[in-house]
């Protein structure tokens, strides 16, 4: 059927207007899309669109927890074999059990910890990749280093930690003592000229890189590797080992009695930093962090945290027995095959 000319013109104009409207809409959307993330964030704050990490833990009935495979006695002891299979124990393991018990009560279904025993340096990486819900390994929050950016920390579960030092040779101890006695010697200059070992990626390592310039820095894969290097007749001699003071103090009391803590006058341990230890989580794990903070608060208030500290740091015990009775099983498949305490090498950044 033929259409009158005027009407055809009107139809044509309408079509053009329609196309123009569509184009404008697309342009508008393109501009708005850039702010979509912010929009979703804003909506999520008002009404959560997805479940939070705590709900996810409940749904899975598992919590993925990381721990350092390198022993940080008494926080983490070496893995041993027990009547129940491979187990790991220590103050941190007991804390994980307490958190898991609280998760079970919260979720109303049993929640089991799936423990990943990995190298300390890999814990941050795995957390970043979302493979862990959190990790525990005597970690001090607030270490000023790019390597520690983007993580969140729970309330402290261990107080009065920090970086300390141990020495083996009496002449080195005397040298440090005489520097300590001399007025005005800054803490950072106490170890000048000495050869010092640290475990890679730990707070002590980051501290030494940032503050202890005139020392010869030996970076080791683990503390036992530092001791092995120090004992070896062929390797570079090690004058001082610095690390977490409670760990070093425990070692000189139990397994490395040939070493001693560097102390100040009055026999108080010398510390280079003061720190408390916290559980490490992803920055956006708000719900889980609230939950863990609450568990730590309850443990503190009930005195249980103090009891834990006492039984792991001061009581006399042998850890294999504790591993048998209260140790945690771990994911054998994810543990580094043929765990090796590793070796030491001179820092390349100096």
């Amino acid at each position: 059927m033929a259409v009158p000319d005027g009407r055809a013109l009107l139809m044509c104009m309408l079509r053009i207007t329609h196309i123009a409207f569509r184009v404008s809409l697309v342009c508008l959307l393109a501009v708005l899309v850039q702010g979509c993330g912010l929009l979703f964030d804003a909506i999520e704050l008002i009404h959560p669109l997805t479940s939070n990490e705590l709900d996810r833990v409940c749904r899975r009935q598992q919590v993925q927890v990381g721990m350092a495979v390198e022993p940080f006695r008494p926080f983490v002891f070496p893995a041993v074999w027990t009547d129940e299979g491979a187990r790991v124990t220590g103050l941190d393991a007991e804390l994980i059990r307490s958190i898991t018990d609280a998760l079970t009560a919260h979720c109303g279904t049993p929640v089991v910890p799936v423990l990943h025993l990995v190298r300390f340096r890999d814990l941050f990486l795995l957390l970043n990749e979302g493979q862990l819900d959190f990790f525990v390994s005597a970690v001090a929050p607030g270490i000023p280093s790019p390597a520690r950016a983007g993580f969140a920390y729970s309330s402290p579960y261990f107080f009065h930690g920090g970086i300390g030092a141990i020495v083996k040779r009496p002449d080195v101890a005397d040298q440090i003592q005489s520097r300590l006695k001399a007025d005005g010697t800054a803490r950072e200059r106490l170890l000048d000229g000495l050869t010092m070992a640290v475990q890679e990626s730990t707070a002590a390592h980051l501290y030494a890189e940032a503050n202890l310039k005139p020392v010869r820095l030996i970076v080791c894969d683990s503390l036992p590797a530092a001791f092995e290097q120090a004992d070896s007749a062929t390797g570079q001699p090690i004058d001082v080992v610095i690390g977490e003071q409670p760990v070093l103090e425990f070692m000189v009391k139990t397994t490395r009695r040939d070493w001693r803590l560097v102390t100040r006058e009055g026999n108080t341990p010398l510390r280079f930093t003061q720190a408390d230890y916290s559980i490490v989580l992803a920055e956006e794990s708000y719900k889980l962090r609230w939950f863990i903070n609450q568990v730590i608060f309850q443990l503190t208030e009930s005195g249980r945290l103090q009891t834990m500290r006492q039984r792991w740091l001061e009581d006399s015990y042998a850890y294999p027995r504790r591993a048998s009775t209260e140790g945690l099983s771990f994911d054998v498949a994810k543990m580094v095959a043929h765990y090796d305490q590793g070796t030491c090498r001179e820092s390349k950044t100096r």
Binding site: V80, G85, A318
Partner: protein, 256 residues
């Protein structure tokens, strides 16, 4: 036949257990079950000895990969078992049933070997740690796990037990306690105890374990002082009764 090494021992216990001998199953069934139980106990004991012989390697802090692989362990286990029983497990499948190893044992011995290898496989991450000396991978902890894994998959129950075990799960039941008490007053030897219980429905066999010189570092003197694993030493002497391997075989195939 080794099965009848000390027939008086079995008879003595038969007399002292009130429920024994009420309903005897066919003699052949019992004899087969008894031999199977004896061989299973011997195999677990052999595994314990293999761990014992390699304890120094396992606890060597200077070596990472110890080479104590499941395959190596299996080879050692078969050899130890052959020395103790004269049975070569490798050629068992080629031998006729009349060879002397009952069909039930032919089925269960490989299952126990598999469970034992699994334990060694799972323990690799612990065994191969370098820089760590004592790892608690000892005959007792190997035996507990191997027995538990085997029992889970079989109608035969295998367990290590003692009068005062370190592991509460190895606590002796009433029957085991009475046998252990009876054994502790007697000189050690190659004897084992076999008895029908539950109106003849279950055969129970107990193979005693005696302390060797190597065990005394943890179980010897001074009594009460902690050993390396944190347990008080028992103050035992070489040849004292350490405990027993307890085997429980239902003779009624319908029973669980």
């Amino acid at each position: 036949m080794r099965l009848r090494l000390l027939p008086w021992l079995g008879l003595l216990l038969m007399g002292f257990a009130p429920i024994s001998g009420l309903a005897s199953p066919p003699e052949q069934l019992r004899a087969e079950a008894e031999e199977t139980a004896r061989l299973l106990a011997k195999l677990l004991q052999s595994g314990r000895l293999v761990i014992e012989h390699h304890q120094t390697v396992i606890d060597d802090p200077h070596r990472g990969d110890k080479g104590f692989t499941p395959e190596f362990f299996e080879q050692q286990l078969r050899e130890e078992f052959r020395q103790r029983t004269g049975i070569d497990l490798a050629s068992l499948s080629q031998k006729p049933v009349t060879f002397g190893v009952p069909p039930l044992a032919r089925e269960l011995l490989p299952a126990l070997i598999e469970a034992s290898k699994e334990v060694v496989r799972d323990a690799q991450v612990v065994i191969n740690q370098r820089g760590i000396g004592y790892k608690n991978f000892i005959p007792a902890t190997y035996g507990s796990q191997a027995a538990a894994r085997f029992s889970k998959r079989s109608h035969v129950q295998l367990k290590q037990t003692a009068i005062q075990p370190r592991n509460p799960k190895n606590e002796a039941d009433e029957y085991e306690s009475s046998v252990l008490r009876w054994l502790s007053g007697r000189p050690n030897g190659e004897a084992y105890v076999s008895e029908l219980t539950e109106s003849g429905k279950t055969l129970r066999v107990m193979m005693p374990i005696y302390y060797l010189q190597e065990c005394l570092a943890c179980h010897g003197e001074p009594k009460g002082e902690w050993d390396i694993s944190g347990y008080p030493r028992e103050g035992a002497r070489e040849g004292d009764l350490a405990g027993a391997i307890s085997v429980r075989i239902p003779l009624d195939p319908k029973s669980p």
